[in-house]
Symmetry: D2
């Protein structure tokens, strides 16, 4: 059977190499090229075996690809996405350049235009499946927003959050979330046996797309998002303290209803662990009641692999939809 | 100069061995005996050098010690504490048996009697220094409560928390917090590259003493406490989302006022990191404002070494006070 | 197409769960039962997704399986292997009970009878493919011997080791090699930031099968094998210092000749890294010359995943041969 | 009592910060300045508390220091050492610039002149105490050579190594040994759950000083040195396979005789563990016999903290001698 030729722009980072690995194993895709300016001509090993040789991004034979994934840096991605579109390829952009709530892009301002009415669907697949299916360009969500939004979506859609409440989100990520960049603060010697928050006070770059989604869903709540850096390579766990509008007999009921037929959402009765979601394209969610409080409160947990369901895996999930393939094709679940 | 003879009950665990190490290096203390039923007659290496040979707890020469630290398990500690007291020793109990809010002990019920009026001071040193100074028996706080309460104390005492608010506390601890016990879920292979919550929904054993303190301080707020297990050996970081009664011009002002002369409290402008507090008897606190919210909100961080400021170090700090020694004597700050 | 029903005995440990995971994903195998006395009736998650529910070993419906893998402990495995054989199943035994050099088994004494002429082939696939192909019972090698022997085999077979030489083998393993057992010395807090040798002085249980193989190959050399415990979950790296009978123009030539058509042997020009072999059924080998020595000497490195090529993966590789299937079927390479 | 003013050149790296921390806690030393070109004017936290503010190296007030430690990079250190000497300070150089066997320095060529007769003593304290005591400039050994040479010294001095033997040394180091440099191959994500050899085939920079010492000791043996990178921050373990000239009744006897009165050498009966030597200025050595070999063979283990006994600690040990202070003063043993 014919395989769809795929190009990966910015393929030398963690997400880029996962994209190459997924494409290489996908039964209907084939890797046409992979670019990396800093490593042009070099061969790199891929996760779970195999290797790829990079070309410079400016030498990318865009015309040869029917599908392009861009894992280029935020800001740098937009121009290349437009070039790939002009060359006729469908594109999934993993940068924030086309995401909802991205003020840097006129069409994606705080009014959420891009999400609600704009030309570029926000590829949170479980929330926007129909928009993604018909799209030629999809803005793949950030890793934290994927966890937080998939975790909160059922409560928000069903109006279950207490009015005016403060939703405290404490999220922790493995260091691959910070990318494969030569920073001394990401050295093994600085991370092992350490743990710290960063991007504190709602200053993290990913806040915009979370706020834009909350706005679209007319949530009447403050979201306080605090990311942390784990001494681990992969995985995100978001722990969310949510004051409720009313007690729930079955705490997990909103998620059961919302995600009944989702192939990549796992609902569990215990707090999810990173080790059960890494190397898989799933989000695992638990919702547990809180004792000794006057305001009924839920603890919602969402765990995923930041490089798969939080990046490359969700990108392939979106691409499958864009090309009319089975949504789970080629994805490790 | 005369050295005070010290006994350590339950010395083979992580906190017990830290106690032995601190006593060994303390200029005014000397180790008279250390007990460990499972390892009687065995020699164990201490952190940072030196070693100790254990005797069985029932063979402990209680009469030889002027000071006894009990690191025996919760429930088992009480009887031995009473025996040590009867033999004339002053005692710091690291178990929960005499702590405020401990329902298992009539004198320490949910009414907080033990904290407010009871005979056994709750040894959160920075909050109860005068009560500790005159005491013959002190109940050393848990590691999580030390971090959470020292972090929240200035806001609570100064009435700065929004009425009826939900305080979301997400705390993460290194695995030594779970003790040196042969549990398969604490094996390296189960913890590395993993992260998970436990004791979820305000069910953690440490909740009682936190709630009792909040009650004493007449806090009108829900505390939602969610502990997590880090792939790290030592250290606790508590991340606390606190809706405020009113905005603060200087977010750190309440802590500066409250802890101006404290030798073991460090106030910092950036989120604290575990690596800067481990192997030291300090709590490091930061308070940072939150943008994009309607209810003024603070993020409060408190970091400490669970085995030192959260256990053995605070115990020695209390013992120094009980014996009229300089509070910081023999403590690594 | 018909799937072969498979039973896994002793399935709750690390190797047992990998076996279940491999069988579950194998296109021609299906899991009939998995046993674990300590966890009978419990459900366990498998690596990379899926789960299994254990039955007690004595309740194993042996008659339902055409293929049985035994991951029972050394000593306990033999009786169950014989029962499974009596029930008509082909068996791959992952314990040491039927391995060459195992003095506990009359047929497998130090004379290497079992290896050379005995009824139970030693399942080092790349060395014994034909014997395995026709077998009903195969003794799967230990993880260390697989790395060491596949690394040394070409030199030994081609008579390239200096006569009377001492081959120094320093090998390091992730802690899953020690099994999923409740030992305090394997706790995260004892392993992180630590490293140590064990089984020192040729006292490790795995030495027997290595010595038996060397004897069969008439090697005139001392093997000094020193295993170490890494602060990592998976993977083995063996570093072998080998004095040579004569210099080699191309240090890797003996391996290129010997392993030219092997699907699971990867020869590399740089020292192999664990991260490139874990979660894969391969051994990666490098051979590099040594400067500043009078006796020509090679450094030989062999790296593999102790749970896959060192255990469950090699077991499936052997089972594929025993059932006339394609050797790589269902294996992640 | 008067404190000796100390300058640290190149203080921002791992060894430099340890030096600052040791000087700060030393009862007879005081930190006059610390330099770091890349971080001039910045404040850095020190291990175990305290902080330092760096000046640029060219702004170092060399005249203010009676003692200078240089932790500048190899090659760059020599000129600054000479400037500090010209300004009247005694100097301990932690770079390789003045070490024996360093071909880049005429006076320190492969003839071992510098070690045996040269002006700059090689500061392997336990081997060169008298030369160090009278020196104004000492070349502090590398971390690996300290472990390897202190481990082998008794065997070499007492002529116990088999003639013509190959000594296989497999050594593993925590990543701080590679320095605090922005290299992607040292990122947490590349090191965790990984392990690999490097500098293979006797090509490691540290080989020179080891070979020069062996030459001085007239050792008739090949040394094959293979370093590895551990997924750990600190510590070195050297595992040495040594064919002996004759069997030893008490394997540890040569070390007991040689190191009877050494304050920083610990002899142990079990293979040493990193966790028992890190954060301490000691080398821990074990020697164990090997079974099943024809040539009598010893396994010698030497473990130390690469930043203390392997760098900053040994440097202070040497400085104490150079200034007529007690050798162990200010050192954590």
């Amino acid at each position: 059977m014919h395989r769809i030729p795929v190009g990966v722009l910015g393929a030398s980072g963690y997400a880029g190499r996962e994209l190459c690995a997924l494409v290489t194993r996908h039964p209907r895709l084939t890797l046409a090229f992979a670019t990396a300016n800093g490593q042009r001509g070099e061969r790199a090993e891929l996760p779970r075996g195999g290797s790829v040789t990079f070309v410079a991004t400016e030498d990318a034979p865009l015309g040869k690809a029917a599908l392009v994934f861009s894992a280029l840096p935020h800001g740098a991605s937009k121009a290349w996405v437009e070039r790939a579109r002009a060359a006729g390829a469908k594109v999934v952009d993993l940068s924030s350049d086309f995401r909802i709530g991205n003020g840097a892009n006129g069409a994606n301002g705080a009014n959420g235009a891009n999400g609600a009415n704009g030309a570029v669907p926000y590829g949170l697949t479980e929330a926007r499946r129909e928009a993604v299916r018909g799209a030629d360009l999809v803005a793949n969500p950030g890793c934290y927003p994927t966890a937080v939004l998939l975790g909160l979506l059922p409560l928000l859609e069903q109006g279950l959050v207490a009015r005016g409440a403060t939703i405290g989100v404490s999220a922790s990520s493995g260091v691959t979330g910070a990318g494969l960049s030569a920073r001394t603060d990401l050295l093994f010697g600085e991370i092992t046996e350490n743990y710290r928050a960063y991007g504190v006070g709602n200053t993290h770059r990913h806040l915009n797309e979370m706020r834009a989604m909350l706005q679209e869903l007319r949530a009447d709540a403050d979201l306080v998002f605090t990311p942390h850096l784990l001494p681990a390579a992969r995985g995100i766990l978001a722990t969310m303290t949510v004051p409720l509008a009313r007690p729930l007999a079955d705490p997990l009921a909103p998620w059961k209803a919302r995600y009944a037929h989702e192939p990549f959402v796992e609902l569990v009765d215990e707090p999810p662990e990173l080790r059960h979601v890494v190397h898989r394209n799933v989000v695992r969610i638990a919702a547990l009641p809180v004792a000794h409080v006057r305001t009924p409160t839920l603890l919602v947990f969402a765990a995923l692999d930041n490089l798969l369901k939080g990046a490359a895996g969700q990108a392939v999930q979106n691409a499958n939809l864009m090309f009319g393939l089975d949504e789970p094709l080629g994805l490790p679940a």
